[in-house]
């Protein structure tokens, strides 16, 4: 139990002033602008938007700056900010099939309509520190190529789903959509809630869980069916208009994992799917999310759920890094009264133990 303490206002204020000074650092070094963070630390902004569950590049950049690059603190700031705004409603589901694709790869099918597009990727770099970045200088301009086909790139899973070897994902739009920001999570949770929690969930936690499934803790034989990055339009139907209005575009990363499935009483042997979707370019997160989404479908697919990644309550209750850090870090706050009570109790237990011992010695 936590009992409130009083006092310390002056010290706390001074601590925050010291923090502000240290955040700024050496005044001889130019201060970062939000635009610089947005443009040059783009993946930090992407992660903060995804796990902060709020798409706004400028706010996420501000949070990164205020948190001095501590991304979980930045995510916390963004989550706190969103509670100050009213919600106008929910968008139409974004159509990732209509994405303006900047990157799209499939590890399962070499020849896909639209081709394999590497886009801006760390893949195939040598992971050698590039000292030219330590000096200032403009990079070589990106190459351009007039496209052979401007046709939309269909999702790999849609093309290959047609012969029935892939599990179909069908819309059930009569069902309401669960929202963990409105209602407390209850178990068992449906897939809509699971996907929301995973989308907001900590990248590191999901990465470790996804990795654990690959190492045999609930192995589900995954392949990266498709990963795509690009911009999708977000449409919203305002009540007063009654038709969908485009609000703008958001950058998203989507991952479709395909997994071997032996089949069940109701489903023939086929490939099943795990799904990952994030704001911005968060590829590792999207892949991890897809692995864990598939692992959490064990119950629904009639598989034995024995591994940690398949344990819905364990995964969903611990995926949120704001909740996790809140509970872990609250241990730093004064627990004097609490601890005093424990101290009294431990002393009493020691006294009792000593008396016990001396009685035993006396009896011998």
């Amino acid at each position: 139990m936590y009992v409130a303490v009083k006092g310390g206002e002056r010290a706390i204020e001074n601590a925050h002033r010291l923090l502000a000074e240290e955040r700024r650092g050496d005044p001889a070094v130019p201060e970062l602008t939000l635009a610089q963070i947005d443009q040059q630390l783009a993946h930090a902004v992407d992660r903060v938007m995804t796990e902060g569950s709020l798409y706004d590049r400028e706010l996420a950049a501000l949070a990164v700056k205020q948190a001095r690059g501590d991304l979980i603190e930045a995510i916390f700031l963004l989550r706190a900010y969103r509670t100050t705004l009213p919600r106008f409603g929910a968008s139409e589901p974004v159509d990732t099939g209509e994405m303006v694709v900047r990157r799209r790869i499939s590890a399962t099918f070499k020849d896909i309509p639209g081709g394999q597009v590497l886009g801006p990727t760390f893949d195939y770099t040598h992971r050698l520190l590039d000292f030219t970045l330590a000096a200032e200088g403009a990079p070589v301009a990106a190459a351009e190529e007039a496209e052979q086909s401007v046709a939309a790139m269909p999702r790999v899973t849609d093309i290959l789903g047609r012969d029935g070897l892939f599990e179909a994902e069908t819309a059930e739009d009569d069902a309401p959509v669960g929202d963990v920001t409105r209602d407390p999570l209850e178990f068992p949770a449906d897939r809509d809630l699971r996907l929301q929690v995973l989308a907001r969930g900590d990248e590191g936690f999901l990465l470790a869980l996804g990795y654990s499934t690959q190492r045999g803790y609930g192995n589900n034989h995954p392949f990266a069916g498709e990963i795509r990055l690009g911009e999708v339009d977000v449409e919203f139907v305002p009540e007063e208009l009654g038709f969908p209005v485009e609000l703008g575009e958001v950058t998203v990363t989507e991952c479709q994992m395909v997994n071997q499935f032996k089949g069940s009483a109701t489903m023939p042997p086929q490939f099943t799917r795990g799904y990952g979707l994030t704001f911005g370019h968060c590829e590792r997160k999207a892949m991890s999310m897809a692995l864990v989404d598939r692992a959490l479908r064990a119950r629904e697919l009639g598989e034995e759920a024995a591994a940690p990644a398949q344990d819905e309550e364990f995964v969903l209750a611990h995926a949120d890094n704001v909740q996790a850090t809140g509970f872990v870090e609250h241990l730093k706050l004064p627990h004097y009264v609490d601890f005093q009570a424990e101290l009294v109790m431990v002393r009493a237990m020691r006294d009792a133990a000593e008396q016990d011992n001396s009685r035993k010695v006396a009896a011998e």
Partner: protein, 161 residues
Amino acid sequence: MNMTTHPQSNEPAKSTATDTRRAWMAVLAKAPTDALVRAWGAMSGKPAYRHLRRPETGLVMVRGRAGGTGQRFNLGEMTVSRCAVALENGIVGHGYVAGRDHRKAELAAIFDALLQDSDRRAEVEALVTRPLSEAQAARKAERRRKAAATRVEFLTMVRDR
């Protein structure tokens, strides 16, 4: 919504008018604020307007679908600003734009109203939406060309064959 130009068939006319309006609203929503401010500044005969809804910022929950085509789920929210204005002739314009920029939402609403006015549409299209739409298409095409330059042909190496 200029229904008078399609007196014959109400229903298709309505949907066409709505599609046209959706298209210009999308262009306005994706425009940079300074481009809208410049266009407004360059406009002669600025109309008088009053607010039906003052500019305000809120959130829209962005939804996705499992597997891209399946069950809907909540991905996360985005900031959105909105505004509604009425011109003196009674035409009402709405602005719904991503972000927290009140001025942008307001200008989007004003231009939306003007574009519904058949007397002013051509002028506003020429000054605002057409150049914006062309710039947006050009940016999209550039992104596509840069992505296309990274298209790769992987060869499968098969042994003993």
